[in-house]
C-alpha cells in the first residue's frame, strides 16, 4: 500500500467533486460544522449518534452499519473520501471504522477541513441527498481493534503508543484542552507506553508528515520496536485512529491496533496499573 492509495490532496478532491463512484463524507466532533458549510456534495456522518450504539458503550453492529451506509447512499463499490475538523481526528476514526467493517476503498483528505479552509476553497450550504443503496458490511476485522484485556497484557511486551498531549500523558490534564477537565477517571498513562502526541505526525496545516519524517518520529526518536505488535490509544480512540493511520496505512506497519476504549475506559478500570509523570 502506498500513500496515494489512502490519502488524497485537496487539489485531487476539488477535481473529483463530481466523479461517479467517489463519495465525500464529513465527520466532525462539532457536528454543527457541516451545517455551516461543507465540501459540495459531501454527506455528513455524526460520529456520536450514528457510529456509536445509543445504549451500550460500543459501535453500531454490522446490521446497523449496513443500514446507515445504505441510507447515506454509499455503495460497496464507492470510493469514500473522509474529511473533518480537529485535524481529521474523527475522519481518521471513521476511516478506521470503515476498515473495521471491511469497506474496500477509503481515503482521507489530507489536511481535512482545516487545510481546505486555510486554502480558501469553497464550502457549500446546499443540502445533499444521495439515492439509497443496499450496503453489505463484513464482520469486524478485530486485527485492527484492541480491547482492554489485550491492552493490560501488552504492558511491557508490545508497543503501547499514547498519542495524547504530554500534559494528558503525565496526568496534569484529563482531556484535550478544548474540553472541560473535570472527569471521573484517574489521570496518567498505561505503564511502558511511549508518548508520541498525534500532532507530531501532522504539519501545522493538518496534513500528514512525509513517510521519512514519520519513520524518524516513531522509530528513531520514540523507539517504537518494529519487531513487536503495536496498540495505539488516546482518550476516546479518535486521535489514536490518526496515529493508527500513520503507522498502519502510511508506514505499512503490519500489526497495529487502535484501542477505542482508550483512557476513558482504562483510567476507570479497577486495579490496573497507572503511571504518572512524563
Amino acid at each position: 500500500m502506498s500513500r496515494a492509495d489512502v490519502l488524497v490532496s485537496a487539489d485531487w478532491a476539488e477535481e473529483n467533486l463530481n466523479t461517479d463512484g467517489v463519495v465525500f463524507v464529513e465527520v466532525d466532533e462539532d457536528t454543527s460544522a457541516y451545517d455551516g458549510g461543507h465540501i459540495a456534495g459531501a454527506v455528513k456522518l455524526d460520529w456520536k449518534t450514528e457510529l456509536q450504539d445509543q445504549v451500550r458503550r460500543d459501535f453500531v453492529n454490522k446490521e446497523q452499519f449496513e443500514a446507515l451506509l445504505s441510507a447515506k447512499g454509499i455503495g460497496n463499490d464507492d470510493t469514500v473520501v473522509l474529511y473533518g475538523g480537529n485535524n481529521n481526528w474523527f475522519a481518521a476514526y471513521a476511516y478506521w471504522y470503515f476498515k473495521l467493517y471491511g469497506h474496500d476503498s477509503v481515503k482521507l483528505l489530507d489536511g481535512g477541513r482545516k487545510k481546505w479552509e486555510l486554502d480558501g476553497r469553497e464550502l457549500s450550504k446546499d443540502s445533499v441527498s444521495r439515492p439509497a443503496t443496499s450496503y453489505t458490511a463484513k464482520d469486524q476485522d478485530l486485527s485492527i481493534r484492541a480491547f482492554r484485556d489485550e491492552v493490560v497484557a501488552a504492558i511491557g511486551t508490545q508497543n503501547l503508543v499514547d498519542v495524547r498531549s504530554p500534559d494528558e500523558f503525565s496526568g496534569k490534564l484529563l482531556a484535550p484542552a478544548h474540553l472541560p477537565q473535570e472527569q471521573s477517571q484517574r489521570g496518567g498513562h498505561i505503564p511502558t507506553a511511549l508518548n508520541v502526541p498525534w500532532s507530531k505526525a501532522a504539519n501545522e496545516d493538518g496534513t500528514f508528515k512525509s513517510d521519512d519524517d514519520l519513520r524518524k518520529l516513531y522509530i528513531d526518536e520514540a523507539g517504537l520496536d518494529t519487531g513487536k505488535d503495536t496498540i495505539a490509544y488516546c482518550r476516546i480512540g479518535e486521535r489514536s485512529s490518526h496515529t493508527w493511520f500513520a503507522l498502519h496505512e502510511l508506514l505499512g506497519e503490519p500489526n497495529v491496533k487502535n484501542y477505542d476504549g482508550s483512557w476513558t475506559e482504562y483510567g476507570s478500570l479497577v486495579g490496573v496499573p497507572i503511571e504518572l509523570g512524563a
Binding site: 486555510l118 490534564l173 477537565q181 500532532s199
Partner: protein
C-alpha cells in the same frame, strides 16, 4: 460586528471556575473579529495541547491548567501568536490580533 473582546466567555453550565483554568479571548484583525481562525494551545515546551476554531464572533476558549502557555493562530488572512500566564484556576483573557 463589534471588534471589542467579549468580557466573559461562554462557559458550559456546571463548570467550576475554582477548578478549571479557562483561557479565552477573541481573534481579530483591524477592527473586525475573525471567525474560523485555527487557535492552538501549546504547552510550556511548545508542544501542541489543543486546537479550536473561532466562533462567528471570533471567540475561542480552552480548558487548561495553571502554567505557562502559548497561543498560536492560523487563518487564511493572517497569523498570530502570544504567550499566556495562568497562575491559578479561573478565567484568563488572552485576545489575539492577527498580523
Amino acid at each position: 460586528m463589534c471588534g471589542a473582546p467579549a468580557q466573559t466567555p461562554t462557559i458550559p453550565t456546571g463548570i467550576d471556575l475554582t477548578k478549571e483554568t479557562v483561557i479565552y479571548g477573541v481573534v481579530s484583525k483591524g477592527d473586525a473579529a475573525v471567525p474560523a481562525a485555527y487557535v492552538r494551545l501549546l504547552d510550556s515546551t511548545g508542544e501542541f495541547t489543543a486546537e479550536v476554531v473561532t466562533s462567528a464572533t471570533g471567540d475561542f476558549r480552552f480548558f487548561a491548567a495553571p502554567g505557562e502557555w502559548t497561543l498560536s493562530v492560523m487563518h487564511k488572512d493572517g497569523n498570530g501568536r502570544r504567550e499566556v500566564s495562568a497562575p491559578e484556576p479561573g478565567l484568563v483573557e488572552a485576545s489575539i490580533v492577527l498580523n
